[in-house]
């Protein structure tokens, strides 16, 4: 898991509800089984115009200072839809390290935590205010995992909730598979009991 403690920088507003992972990376942009090369594919339907993929000058992430913003402010249910992790790879490879929204698609949120992006859920009214103030390009936020708060530069701090285990994994950059494998004894004991209790789960396959 990629380590992340605190992200500070300009916040880019993309304040629309239900932005789905098909918009973040459309299926047609997924052309090879690898994990690389997704920065250019991020928000392709909005970011580019025409078949020659000219940049759309009106799209927020094509404009200064948002082009280099490490923080995105989004609407309710951000990242809903497909589980495609490419959506998160694209955001990370583009340079986004934190997303502030009222709520997230559940699988997307889990994918963010495993790819060095911090999803911070704040109350809808708070996000609406931040999105409004971010329009000018002068809103600088510090999204702080250690303190579990989103702080406006020279302004108030807004607390967010994050699971204690997830927080620790991300703060320390821990390998979750290695941590679980330390419990191999527990897992094998469970499986031995389960083979007795639910043998149909363990029956060999017909082939």
């Amino acid at each position: 898991m990629e380590k992340l403690v605190r992200v500070e920088g300009v916040a880019a507003p993309l304040y629309r509800p239900n932005i789905d992972t098909d918009l973040i990376v459309p299926s047609r942009e997924i052309t090879s089984p690898g994990r690389e090369g997704y920065a250019e594919k991020l928000f392709a339907p909005w970011r580019y115009l025409g078949p020659d993929r000219r940049e759309n000058p009106d799209f927020v992430l094509n404009r200064a200072p948002f082009r280099a913003a490490p923080i995105l402010i989004a609407g309710e249910n951000f990242g809903c839809g497909s589980s495609r992790e490419m959506a998160v790879w694209a955001l990370r490879q583009f340079g986004i390290r934190a997303i502030v929204a009222p709520s997230f698609g559940e699988i997307f949120r889990a994918n963010c935590l495993r790819n060095g992006i911090l999803p911070a859920a704040l109350p809808a009214a708070t996000v609406a205010g931040l999105a409004e103030r971010a329009q000018s390009g002068s809103l600088v936020l510090a999204v702080d995992l250690e303190r579990r708060e989103v702080r406006e530069a020279g302004g108030p701090a807004h607390p967010f909730a994050v699971g204690e285990r997830e927080r620790e994994m991300m703060l320390e950059g821990l390998d979750d598979i290695a941590l679980t494998l330390r419990r191999k004894g527990d897992i094998e004991a469970f499986q031995a009991r389960d083979r007795e209790a639910r043998p149909w789960i363990w029956a060999g396959a017909p082939d």
């Binding site: 304040y15 239900n18 098909d22 299926s27 994990r35 495993r114 598979i177 029956a203």
Partner: protein, 469 residues
């Protein structure tokens, strides 16, 4: 013991360790992989020097990036092979994971195949790097979609770490009228409570209308739980579930099935179980549903009208205006009669045998309207064979539908299958997002019967009118 919901019972049966802070280390009984996320997942594991903890509990399919036109088998081999399918073959072979390849009689859409083959079972935990994995909640499995990195954890350890989900119960009361089905129930629910209405809960779908659904309908309902913003959906297994599972290739049989069935029936939520949230929907007056916009929550009754953004304010109004502009519809217009260029029947939502029968009942003796590109894609090779044994393929073909090989196909546009130049599509799939079915394509979600009726009419049409005529 304190009263529990079905999800709590399954959870307790799979909890290897309580990790504190509400988190559990859960056993995962089944892992399904497909060729779009499977290769990256297996490559990640291999790069870390890891492999599957128990390859016999992992199953691979090819469905997402496969074409569905006849002759695909030949085209998928050799130098022209699609990179995803080729990589899936290599990676699963290297990891010792069985793969239902294109030439396998068990090939099909992962969420259609796993219950059909008896791989998914009631009370089992099942994960897959696909958001519609909750589909198999329809047989009483606790199943949910994950990303590929979390999938690496599942494959390497046969476990996942998860917080106990919040509990929601949705009661569908009353009886459905003829011509109205599970898809209409799901769309009505999302239309009423919103695309985030499921609030990341584990939702049990209950009530008279759910009990009356065939198992395939329950799969459809649970399939759409993710479009409701749920973590997953589940329907308690009953005698109909057990009858449906008996005889499937990987399912237990004989005395073992009897023992399993007794266990499965005991999973039902206790009468006094506690819920964090409850919702209810009366189905007795439910009409067929169709979406007008770009989110599944833009669902309305088929005899309803497109909403007027002027009646909303702020961000909600902007979202409605944007959806109307994308869909090229006028505020207040009736949705019936909206012209369509294409019709699609397929996807993990609505591609099982009863879905094809419902569409065929409308299509029999009728023709698709001139200029409408109509495509039917059975959910699995098995569904296709079963449909052909009943002569459904002839009904579809004679009506003017293309009859294809199984796969995810045009549920999303991956640059493989295409609607050609069609702009407006009536579709039995699950997502009407902007560009989901192709750049600029406008998608109207509906049941297979509504898709068939609309294909015949050349515009969005009420299947009840045709069924009666």
């Amino acid at each position: 013991m304190a009263p529990r919901t079905i999800v709590e019972k399954i959870w307790d049966l799979h909890e290897i360790a309580d990790l504190g802070g509400g988190q559990s280390l859960l056993h995962v009984d089944r892992i399904l992989l497909h060729e779009r996320m499977g290769p990256a997942l297996l490559a990640g594991l291999a790069q870390a020097g890891r492999g599957p903890a128990n390859p016999a509990l992992v199953y691979g399919v090819v469905d997402h990036a496969v074409e569905t036109l006849p002759g695909r088998l030949e085209r998928s081999r050799g130098a022209g092979a699609n990179a995803f399918v080729a990589s899936m073959r290599e990676r699963t072979a290297a990891a010792g994971i069985r793969l239902f390849d294109l030439d396998d009689p068990r090939q099909g859409i992962v969420h259609v195949v796993s219950p059909e083959q008896g791989i998914a079972l009631p009370g089992c935990t099942l994960v897959c790097p696909d958001s519609h994995t909750g589909t198999v909640g329809g047989i009483g499995a606790l199943a949910w979609g994950i990303g590929s990195t979390e999938g690496e954890h599942a494959v390497a350890t046969q476990t996942l770490v998860r917080a106990r989900p919040r509990r929601m119960r949705v009661d569908f009361d009353g009886r459905l009228a003829p011509g109205v089905g599970a898809k209409d129930m799901a769309l009505a629910l999302i239309g009423r409570f919103g695309a985030a209405g499921g609030d990341a809960c584990a939702i049990e779908f209950a009530g008279e209308a759910v009990r009356a659904l065939a198992v395939e309908g329950r799969l459809t309902l649970c399939n759409m739980a993710v479009e409701f913003g749920a973590w997953t959906g589940i329907v308690a297994p009953d005698d109909a579930t057990i009858d449906w599972i008996a005889g499937r290739p990987f399912a237990p049989e004989g005395a073992m099935l009897d023992r399993a069935a007794a266990h499965w029936l005991g999973l039902a939520s206790d009468d006094d179980a506690r819920w964090d949230a409850r919702r209810a929907l009366d189905c007795s007056a439910l009409a067929p549903q169709v979406t007008w916009g770009t989110s599944p929550q833009h669902a309305i009754a088929i005899d309803g009208a497109v909403p007027d953004p002027a009646r909303a304010t702020g961000a909600a109004r902007e979202a409605l205006e944007r959806a109307l502009a994308y869909m090229d519809l006028s505020p207040g217009a009736p949705i019936l009669g909206t012209r369509v260029d294409a019709a699609f029947i397929g996807s993990c939502t609505n591609s099982r045998l009863p879905d094809l029968r419902a569409a065929a009942a409308i299509l029999r003796g009728r023709k698709v309207a001139p200029g409408v590109k109509a495509i039917a894609v059975p959910g699995s090779a098995q569904v296709k064979r079963d449909a052909e044994a009943e002569g459904l393929d002839r009904v579809f073909r004679e009506a003017g539908f293309e009859w294809r090989e199984s796969g995810c196909s045009l549920c999303f546009f991956a640059g493989i299958d295409s609607f050609g130049g069609a702009r407006r599509v009536i579709t039995s799939t699950n997502r009407n997002f902007e560009g989901r079915q192709g750049p600029g394509v406008r998608s109207h979600l509906a049941s297979p019967a509504t898709v068939a009726a609309s294909a015949v009419a050349g515009c969005i049409a009420d299947p009840r009118a045709l069924a009666a005529g």
